[in-house]
Every structure is written in C-alpha cells, then in structure tokens.
C-alpha cells in the first residue's frame, strides 16, 4: 500500500498571506488542527497548526520544561495579551516551514513512521507530486485504510 492509496485528496489549505486569527477561525470552522499553507502559485510553503500558537504565547521557562506544571499558579495576563496581539500577525512567522513530505509512491510504513516520529506536533503529512500538493495523510487515513486493506 502506498501514499496515493490512503491520502485524502479533498484538501483545505490556507493562503500564505492570511493572519493567525483567520487561520484559527478556519481551524474552528472545519474542526481541523492543522492546514497546509500555499503560496499564490500553489506551492507548499509550510504547515500551520493550532499547537504552534502556544510557543508564541507561553513564557520560555514553561516551554523549556523548566516549569512543567503550574497548577498552583493563577492565570497570567500576559499570555492573553500575547494571544490577542498574535491574531493580527501573518501565519508566515508561526507556521512550520519545510515540513517533511512524501510522494504518492511512498510506502504506508514510511508514512506511518514519519507521522509518529517527525510530525508529532501537527500530524499531517503532505503528499507532493511535481512540486504540487496532491494529497494529505492524517493518522485517521492510516487506520481507516488498514481496516479496508484487511477486507
């Protein structure tokens, strides 16, 4: 089984110029956690995930794991201020650029391995053919198609 057999081809993407606020609204509307980001020519420029918002709003001592639990502390006003300020910024600064991609001929095993070990923060794997995005593989696609494979 190859990437082309399991990928989703109906893809929703975000334009490179959109703001973080717009991207987050799209995440909420479609109930997706991550989107591929394309430039005007349709080339894949990166991946935006709601998980990428947190490194921009949480204090470094929490991000580094130096404080791994703060259940004893009240809310930090600064975090909300940063989130509000982030909404008007372009996603370009936040998205993961040069994400790992696969080709339609990549094996199922290789796709599953990349999703597990490399893409752990956004869990979608773009499928690229001739520099164009032709599909996406999410964990669900891997599981759903394994079930089909058995029958």
């Amino acid at each position: 089984m190859k990437a082309k057999d399991i990928m989703t081809t109906a893809i929703t993407t975000l334009p490179l110029q959109c703001t973080v606020g717009w991207a987050l609204r799209e995440c909420a509307r479609k109930k997706f956690q991550a989107f591929p980001v394309l430039d005007q020519e349709g080339g894949l420029r990166g991946i935006f995930s709601i998980m990428m918002v947190f490194p921009s709003i949480l204090p470094p001592y929490i991000l580094s794991g130096e404080l791994s639990q703060v259940t004893y502390a009240p809310d930090l006003e600064e975090v909300h201020q940063k989130l509000a300020a982030l909404r008007n910024r372009p996603i370009e600064g936040l998205m993961k650029t040069d994400p790992p991609t696969v080709s339609p001929e990549t094996s199922y095993l290789a796709c599953a391995t990349i999703l597990l070990h490399v893409q752990e923060h956004f869990r979608i794997l773009p499928v690229i053919e001739s520099k164009s995005l032709v599909g996406l593989i999410a964990p669900w696609d891997l599981i759903k198609n394994t079930e089909d494979y058995g029958h």
Binding site: P59, Y61, S64, Y72
Partner: protein
C-alpha cells in the same frame, strides 16, 4: 615533575577557556598522567577521592527523585506568599529558601528548581525578575558555604581532612548566616525603590495555591523520610564511623527501593534508569580526572614545594597564612572554577599543617586554615558571573527568558558584595582562630 606540571597547567588552561567540555579534558589529562608514567594505574585510582564522588552521586539521586514530588516549588511559592506579596520581602524569603536548600543540596540543582518559579512569580507581579535572580545566585553560594554537603569544595575538604558534618555546622554555618544577613543590607538599599508592585498584582500572588504544587504525596512522604534519615546519618556519621558518602548512597538506595517497590521489573528498570539520569555525570567524570591530575603533581612534590614557598612568603606567620588562603581562594574562585582550585589547595594546606604544628599552633586553631579555604572558595564564587556553576545556570535561564545577565553589570554589583563577605569572613576567622 616537568611532565606532570605541564599536564596540570595545560588542563587548567583548557578548563578555564571552556573550549572543550571539562570532563573530557580532565579525563584526557588523567590519561596522560598514567600514559606518560607519572603515576601507575594503581596510584591514579588511589588518587580518586571516592568519598567526594559517592557523596555527590548519592545526593544527586536523592534530589532527582525528590524533585518529582513538587516540594521545591511548594517551598518557593510558600516563601513568596509568606512575604504577603511585598517585593522586598519576597526577595528576602526567596533568597532565604535558596540559601537553606543550597546548604542541603547541590547549588546548581537548587537554582534550577527555584529560578523558574521566581520568573513566574515576578511575571505575575509584573516586576523585573533580575533583583530576585541576582539575590538567589548570591544566596546559593552563601548557603552552600554553610555545610559539609553544601558545595563541592566543602565535600572535598571534609573528605580529605576527616572534619565532620557537625564541625562544619559549628564552624561554617554561623559565618554563612552572618554573610547572608549582611548581604541583604546592600541588596535592600539597591532594590528598595526599584521593586514596586501594584495592589492587584500583589493580590494575584496571594492567589497562588502552594499545596497544588505537591504532585505526589506518597513520593513526598517517602523522600522526606529518607532525607530526614540521611540528615540524621550526617549528624551522627562520626559516631557511626561512616563516611557521609556511605550515608548518602545508602539513602539513595533506600529511596530508589521505596519508589520502585511493588513495580514489575520492566517498570522498575525504566524508573531507576530515569532517576540515575539526574546524576550530572559530566561533573562526576570531571572530578575523577581532576583527582588523578592533582595526584600526579602531588606525587612529583610540586605542591610540597609550593606549600613551603607560601610559608616562606608569609614568614611562617600563621595568621598571615590563614588570611592569604582566604583571600587568594576568594579571588581565584571568582575567576576560575573553585573545584580544581580546592583540589590543588588541599594537599598544599596539608603540607603546611606540620610546620605550624611544630611551631606550637593548637589543633583547634589549625583548623582555621580549612575554614579559610572553604569560605574563600565558596563565597568567592559570588564575585563574578563565571565564579560558580550556579551563576551561569541562572544567567542561562534568565537570558532564555529575555532578561539580560551580562558579565560587567553583574561584576559591578557582585564583586563589592563578595568583598564584603570576605571582609566578614576575615573578621570571623580572626576572631575565632587567630
């Protein structure tokens, strides 16, 4: 003698330059000491002070397990709340808790646990965290001076001389408390007007619920019980005729056993592996290599000669020698790592003792030389940003959080404070031992 001395100086120069990891360079130096025939393998191994190594390792494992309970965050938050949200009070309380923990644990571990909570507290209070972090650096080195287990120089001195945990308490703890208190005076004057907190920020600090910091009550009870036993063991180690290293390692083994009790072998192996990863192996291997290099130059008689020169230079005057040890140790430790410095000074001071003994200096007074070395080496670390590992660790955490910790601004404030502490130590040693 030339070969050993050359290895010694080259190793020290590379350690100071920080171009190569200090554990690697110390082990290479040690390899050369053996390879070039300065020491046999047996002599080299005999040169390693396993009491120092064992005590460090045991305490690192104990702290590594205990920190999982959240007790250190609890203590930091509790300390800050005790000051009722008053910034100067918080500074004093956080320094106090840092000093106490540093006296009982390794300084770097202490600041790694306290500094992030401090950043959170300062951010809630909407004030600059620099004064707090600066005070904590000083407190960690000053607190570390107080006990045999507080700082590596003291561990080495205790192990090499047989001075007991209680003797360190009697002789160094009062000095450390005095130095800590006196340091608060300039800190208060400097920061009194800079630390202003609005009432709403102060009430937010009071919303902290320190009890929520305790993540694992069972672990907390187990760790505190074992810590209590280990401390009791330290108080009694002379009577029990056990080295502090034996007590620390036994404590570590007991706590490891308690926290893995009832687990299946796989889970247990995984947990134990995790706990041993808390041991700073770089420090441990650095010590091993260093002890061999120092044993090398000791073997050649170089340190003996240096000790004789020092006594000549001070005209055999005991008081001047003690003061020279204190001040040279402080100034050297402000610039270079105090661990290699003290490792070198210990055999030198040992060589000086018989001379003063023959001159009729009583044993209680002779001990003053060791207290001078300990105080100078530990407190000297307060002088510059590179004076102690804890300073660099705090500076690193601060820089990552956008708080500038630069060498010169730190020096301008820290060096005079260190001088104040060494003047206090001078008076203390003069009063008690000379």
């Amino acid at each position: 003698m030339v070969v050993a001395t050359a290895i010694f100086f080259i190793t020290y120069a590379i350690v100071i330059s920080e171009k190569i990891n200090r554990a690697i360079i110390a082990l290479m130096g040690a390899g050369l000491v053996i390879g070039l025939g300065v020491l046999t393998q047996e002599q080299a191994i005999a040169g390693i002070d396993f009491n120092t190594i064992g005590l460090l390792t045991g305490m690192m494992v104990l702290v590594g397990i205990t920190q999982g309970s959240g007790v250190f965050q609890f203590l930091a938050v509790k300390a800050a709340k005790t000051a009722n949200g008053h910034p100067l009070g918080i500074l004093i309380m956080l320094s106090g808790i840092t000093a106490i923990l540093s006296a009982l644990l390794d300084n770097v571990t202490t600041v790694l646990l306290i500094a992030p909570v401090t950043l959170l507290i300062a951010q809630e209070l909407k004030i600059n965290s620099y004064p707090f972090l600066f005070a904590e650096i000083n407190a960690s080195n000053t607190g570390g001076t107080a006990t045999l287990i507080g700082d590596p120089p003291n561990i080495m001195i205790g192990s090499a001389t047989g001075l007991t945990f209680n003797q360190f308490l009697v002789h160094l703890t009062p000095l450390a408390i005095l130095a800590f208190m006196m340091t608060l005076i300039p800190l208060t004057i400097l920061y009194r007007k800079k630390l202003v907190v609005l009432p709403d920020a102060r009430s937010r600090l009071m919303e902290f619920n320190e009890w929520e910091a305790i993540k694992d009550w069972r672990l907390l009870k187990q760790s505190l019980s074992v810590f209590g036993l280990v401390l009791l063991g330290f108080f009694l180690h002379h009577t029990l005729q056990l080295e502090p290293a034996t007590i620390a390692l036994l404590g570590a083994a007991l706590l490891l056993w308690l926290v893995t009790y009832g687990l299946n072998p796989e889970e247990s192996a995984h947990k134990v592996h995790g706990f041993f990863s808390h041991v700073e192996w770089v420090t441990i291997f650095f010590f091993c290599g260093l002890f061999i290099i120092v044993a090398g130059i000791e073997h050649t008689g170089l340190l003996n000669t240096l000790a004789a020169w020092t006594i000549d230079a001070t005209a055999g005057n005991f008081a001047i020698t003690a003061m020279a040890i204190l001040w040279v140790s402080a100034l050297a430790s402000a610039i270079v790592d105090n661990i290699p410095f003290v490792a070198t000074m210990i055999p030198m001071v040992k060589d000086m003792l018989p001379v003063f003994q023959e001159a009729g200096v009583p044993p209680e007074q002779l001990q003053g030389l060791w207290w001078a070395l300990a105080a100078g080496a530990c407190l000297g670390g307060n002088g510059t940003l590179i004076g102690a590992s804890a300073n660099l660790v705090v500076a690193g955490i601060a820089q990552r959080n956008g708080i500038s910790f630069r060498f010169v601004p730190f020096l301008i404030m820290a060096f005079p404070i260190m001088l104040l502490q060494i003047i206090i130590s001078t008076l203390y040693i003069w009063w008690r031992y000379l």
